[in-house]
Every structure is written in structure tokens, then in C-alpha cells.
Symmetry: C2
Amino acid sequence: MSNKSSPIGIFDSGLGGLTVFKAVRRLMPGEDIIYFGDTARVPYGTKSKEAVISFSKEIAEFLSARGVKLLVIACNTASSLALEEVRAITRVPVIGVIEPGARSALGATSNGRILVTGTTATVTSGAYRKVIKKLEPGAFVFEKACPLFVPLVEEGWCGKKVTKLVASEYLAPLRKRGFDTVILGCTHYPLIKKIIIKALGGRIKIVDSAQATALEVRADLGARDLLNPARRGRERYIASDAPDKFKALAFRLLSIKVKNVEVKRF
Amino acid sequence: MSNKSSPIGIFDSGLGGLTVFKAVRRLMPGEDIIYFGDTARVPYGTKSKEAVISFSKEIAEFLSARGVKLLVIACNTASSLALEEVRAITRVPVIGVIEPGARSALGATSNGRILVTGTTATVTSGAYRKVIKKLEPGAFVFEKACPLFVPLVEEGWCGKKVTKLVASEYLAPLRKRGFDTVILGCTHYPLIKKIIIKALGGRIKIVDSAQATALEVRADLGARDLLNPARRGRERYIASDAPDKFKALAFRLLSIKVKNVEVKRF
């Protein structure tokens, strides 16, 4: 049985989900958090639905066995393709990043025209479009895959001319389409937020799912009276490969100092 | 026991190894070939040595069980990190791409100054440098990781300005270092060969390992009297994920028409 001191489980294909981890930590400093990054099989965004479902279920089972009180899929691709499948095998609530992001975008838009950026798998799944249209059938949603953003961010080229050129290649043709809101539908994208805004012409509201997801986590735990009143929660990091690279990237990309990364191979 | 009609097994982390497949096919039209692409776990170039060894052994066992008479590791990263480990568990000869490429470079260079380009894992392993220095201790070898080349090629941006800019970012600072030969130490790189040459200033000999590896395959089979005299060999393609994407990319990148891709998940 879950109780207040049970940890929250968060997983992602790699490190990008640490943006969600950070938002959860900021909002709920007393919680224990287990973060799992599937660094042996990253990226998910170019893989098939079957593969992403199989990987996600494996990780959900692994984290469930560690007694989490809530599971967060902090990966847009896995949330798009595997949310229902993970829910079906998990006893605790499972929160993905798509619905919180979609709601956030609907709150932000004035003209109902929303652009979604993400990996090929997320965009192909149409997950954001489906959720937005269910909540607001009148909204106009356009989805654009930007597969080079993740490798560019992981190369640390967040401010380089090359990255601006890639963003412009993907997004400049969409400038005249009247979008007033863009969803950063991949956890790496907030790291090149300014470049994305500029490529889109400058005047556009940005929605990233991390903050919205953290709010949903707090609401769920509050409703179940499972918020941990401790002053300072603990963190545990687990990766399926390359713990040193995990540490280095966590610091370089997100200024998170990770002392220890356990390795769990599948 | 192997015989003339046994197939050749070729594997890669994904599709890049099809460049080796093509060279083998051209040189030995009568051979049956089984090609395995580990598309569920691609790329290898950013993963740890342990992970690459474990993946490679799994695939080698899978192909061995299919009675191959020779195994080709058509992936620079896996050849760099896992050749000995695969040899240790395989009864038939195993040929990687590093040694043929290194020999080819030593044949091509006039001044003994060789530049090696590749993935982060290949470059970090120092595999090319070690082999070259063993064969020719007086050679000067410099290795440069170019991790964005693979995603750029897979995006199909082989002629774009962005790709030129990335190549220039990686390679232009090396122009004045007097290299007369560059090894394309990743099976994707031949697809942007011209851009790489230009970024290096234009006057440099290019070595890709595919042709050299195919020659070594023929030499090995010839020496063991295992060359297949058939007129037209068969091909079998197996991938660990996303067979449709495999087909599409094989055609788009390498003009190979793949009719059927079997799926083997690990």
C-alpha cells in the first residue's frame, strides 16, 4: 500500500525527463523521487509504437516493484504511445505529459491555433491533437516533427548558429499560419526555447509540459492525502546505461548535481 | 559445419551497415546474406562499452544459430568496442570494419598523417589509432567525433546548408594540420562524403571501410574454400524494430529495394 513516505517514480527515455523531475522537486520539496532514464535504448522518438510500449512497461514494472505511490511518464513519446498500456499493468495512478501540456496550451491560446513540436514518434501518434480536440473541438492543431533538436541539445549546441538554422528550416515556413501558442512536445526543447520562439517569428506563447505535469502530480497526491510533509526529500537516479554520461549531461544541460547513478540493465 | 551455401551474416546498429552489405553483394553476387539491424537500440555511438558488447553478443549468437559461415560486424562502434568479445563466443571467423579501414588508410596516405572521423564511442575507444599505430608506428593519427552526422543523414539532409555548417564546425579547424587522408569511421558518413571533403579544404583522400571490408570477406572465404559459386545469392533482412522505417530508409539513403524485413525483438 502507498503511504505519504512512498516515493514518486519518474521515467524517461533518457535525461530530458529531468525537466519534469526539477518541476516536481520545486513544487514538492518533501517528496522522495526515483528517476529512471532508459539511456541504453534512448532515443524513443524514432522507434516503433510496439518497442516504446514494451520498453515503458518494463520500466513501469521495475518502478512499481520499488513501491512508488505515483508514476510519471516524463517522456512525450512514451506518454503518446504507451500511457494506456502502462496504466493497464500499474496499480498506482500514472500521469503522462500530454494531457497537462494540452490543457496548458488551451489555457494559453487566445485564437485557438496551436502548434505542436516534438519527435517523429510523438507527432506521428497525433497524441496532442487528439487530447486537445477532445477538450476543445474547435481548436486548430498542427503538429511538426523536429528530430534534430534532441541530438543538437545533447551535443551542447544550444546557442549555435547551426541550431538556429535547423530551427528555421523546420519552423520558419509555419510563421504565417497564425499560431499564437506552441507546445514544446519534447522534454529537451525547453533548452532551446529562445531559438524556437525566434524561428517562429518572435510573438508566440510557449507551453512546456513540465510545470503543468508537476501541478497535476501535486493535485493527485493531495486528493489521495499522500503528500509527504517532510522538509527535504531524497533523490535516487537509475539509468540503463552509461552512468557517467548521465551525470555529466544532467549537470551540463540542467545544472543538476547527481552524486550517484545506479545501473539497471534490461 | 559451414559450407559454400551457408550464408554470410552482417550486422549493424541500424541501417548504416548496408553500405558494407552493398560492397559485399557487389563483390560476391552468389552469396546468401543475412543482414541484421538493431533498430530498437540504435544508435550505438552514444552508448557505453558494456552496452555495445552486450548487444553485439546477443546479435552474434542469433546469427550464429542461423548457420552463418562468416560474421561481419558492419558497425564501426561495435567493431571498436566488441570485436574480441564477439570472437570469443563465435565459432566462425568474425571480421570488423576497423582493421580493413586502417590498412586502407595506410595504403592511401603519402605523408603518414591520418584523420579519423566517427561517433563518440568509436573515437573514445581509440580503436583506429591503436590498429594504425600497430601496423605503422610512425603514423600520426588524430581522431574527431562528429556525433551530429548520423542524425543529419537519417533526416535525409545530405545536401543541406545546415549539414555543411555542422561539418565545417567539426572539421574546418583541422584543415591546417596537414592530414592527407581521412577515414570515414562510421557507415553513415560516405553519404555526406563531398561535404566532409569540402569542410576539410578539398584536397584529401577519403577512405571508407565498406570496400576494404568486403575484400577481406572475399579473401577469408576464398582461403577456406567457402565462396559460393551460385549466380545470384539471396538476401534476408532482419531488424529489431520498425521494419517499415527500415525499408523506407534503405531505399532513401542507399537505393536498396527491400521487399521484406523480419522482426526479431530481444
